[in-house]
């Protein structure tokens, strides 16, 4: 239990996937302009990331590791993630069109969201047990969402700010992310696994 709580705390705050580990930067910069899209993306990521960690962990432990096929890890993981995204997209469209309207446009983007692949790879590298891996997936996605939502909140205000000409757009977004990351540095070293 203690380990699980540590994992949650670490991957939301201490080792935040976006601000400290640089996973999932593209969507972080791409969809953080509006709070609404940020929340939509967060939901989609939480869902897919948790599922992806679960499936890839099982696949790695019971197939790849057992038959000494570890070197097929990258190919199988990315296929699992791509199919998962496809599956979620199709199911969502059938079951809940309203939810699909909200999340649908984000789903194709998720396949190349490196945070998803990273969480699958790291769950194996860190030698997490099954439950730990799933909790890790949840925590990492929550950390991603936290960073994304905070960023969206800041950027909505930034729209009204008077920014030097040359720094407008991505430049100021990155510098803002840097300051945000600096704030998260405060959590460094509070907890290790």
């Amino acid at each position: 239990m203690e380990t699980l709580l540590s994992i949650i705390f670490i991957y939301i705050l201490v080792d935040n996937f976006v601000l400290q580990r640089f996973f999932g930067i593209c969507p972080f910069l791409g969809v953080s302009r509006k709070m609404e899209t940020a929340i939509g993306m967060s939901m989609a990521v939480i869902f897919v990331m948790t599922m992806a960690t679960l499936v890839t962990w099982l696949l790695y432990t019971f197939v790849l590791d057992r038959f000494n096929l570890q070197y097929l890890q990258i190919v199988t993981f990315i296929l699992v993630i791509a199919s998962l995204v496809q599956l979620v997209e199709t199911t969502l469209r059938k079951i809940s069109p309203t939810l699909y309207q909200g999340l649908g446009i984000f789903l194709p983007l998720i396949t190349t969201n490196c945070a998803i692949m990273a969480v699958a790879l790291l769950a194996v590298r860190e030698e997490f047990a099954f439950i730990e891996a799933v909790v890790f997936g949840v925590a990492a996605s929550l950390g991603f969402s936290l960073a994304l939502v905070i960023m969206a909140g800041i950027r909505e205000r930034l729209e009204l700010a008077n920014i030097p000409d040359v720094l407008q757009g991505s430049a100021v977004t990155l510098i803002t992310a840097g300051i945000l990351s600096l704030a998260f540095q405060g959590f460094r070293g509070m907890l290790t696994l």
Partner: protein, 209 residues
């Protein structure tokens, strides 16, 4: 300057005008993640370039055999195959670099630059042009990583060619206190933000759109 030569155009486009990092903001994870040291940034750039060139060529060669409906999964498998090969080669022959890049090596597979070029360029163009495009975009990506890594290493560590103690060159005297921030995550964001601002200035001055 023959603006009509398609090869020259394919080659130069990715380096400056459509630089994947400074202009299009693609493939940002490794850009920020491995640029603490120049050698790591350069190594990551070259590894990604190798994958990009190989996948561009293979996808261009196979484009007529791959039905459009399953095109994305096929591209992904092809890219993932080359990433795995690069990972094996690095682990065998460049162990120091392999350790330093860590999980970012397998993550080349989700670098949107590579899938982006496959989808937008290689799947519609002949092999030779895709090769040239791969080289150009690869150089552009490596260049961006190299510049950012150089800035971060000099500011954050006061060295170049680190972290291997055998090749490290101290740029300043013993008393120099580096700005540690640039070696750390916040510094990565801030340094890239400032570099983007700088490219904006340069592009505006040179009037490149």
């Amino acid at each position: 300057m023959s603006a009509h030569n398609p090869y020259l155009e394919d080659f130069s486009r990715g380096i400056i005008r459509e630089n994947p990092v400074f202009r299009l903001l693609l493939g940002m994870c490794p850009v920020l993640g491995v640029t603490g040291y120049f050698m790591n940034g350069l190594g990551m750039g070259l590894a990604s370039t190798a994958v990009l060139i190989a996948s561009n060529v293979v996808i261009a060669a196979l484009k007529n055999f791959i039905p459009p409906q399953v095109r994305i999964p096929c591209f992904i498998v092809i890219i993932a195959t080359f990433v795995t090969i690069i990972e094996m080669v690095l682990q065998a022959f460049q162990p120091v670099l392999y350790e330093a890049l860590g999980v970012f090596v397998p993550l080349i597979v989700v670098n949107c630059v590579i899938l982006g070029r496959a989808e937008a360029f290689a799947s519609k163009r002949p092999v030779l042009r895709s090769l040239v495009d791969g080289i150009g975009v690869g150089i552009g990506f490596t260049l961006a990583l190299g510049i950012l890594a150089l800035v971060r290493e000099v500011a954050g560590q006061g060295t170049v060619m680190g972290p291997d103690p055998e090749s490290t060159i101290m740029l300043f005297g013993e008393g120099f206190e580096p700005m540690g921030l640039f070696g750390q995550p916040p510094g990565a964001f801030i340094a890239l933000g400032l570099l983007l601002g700088l490219t904006n200035v340069i592009f505006k001055k040179l009037n490149i759109k």
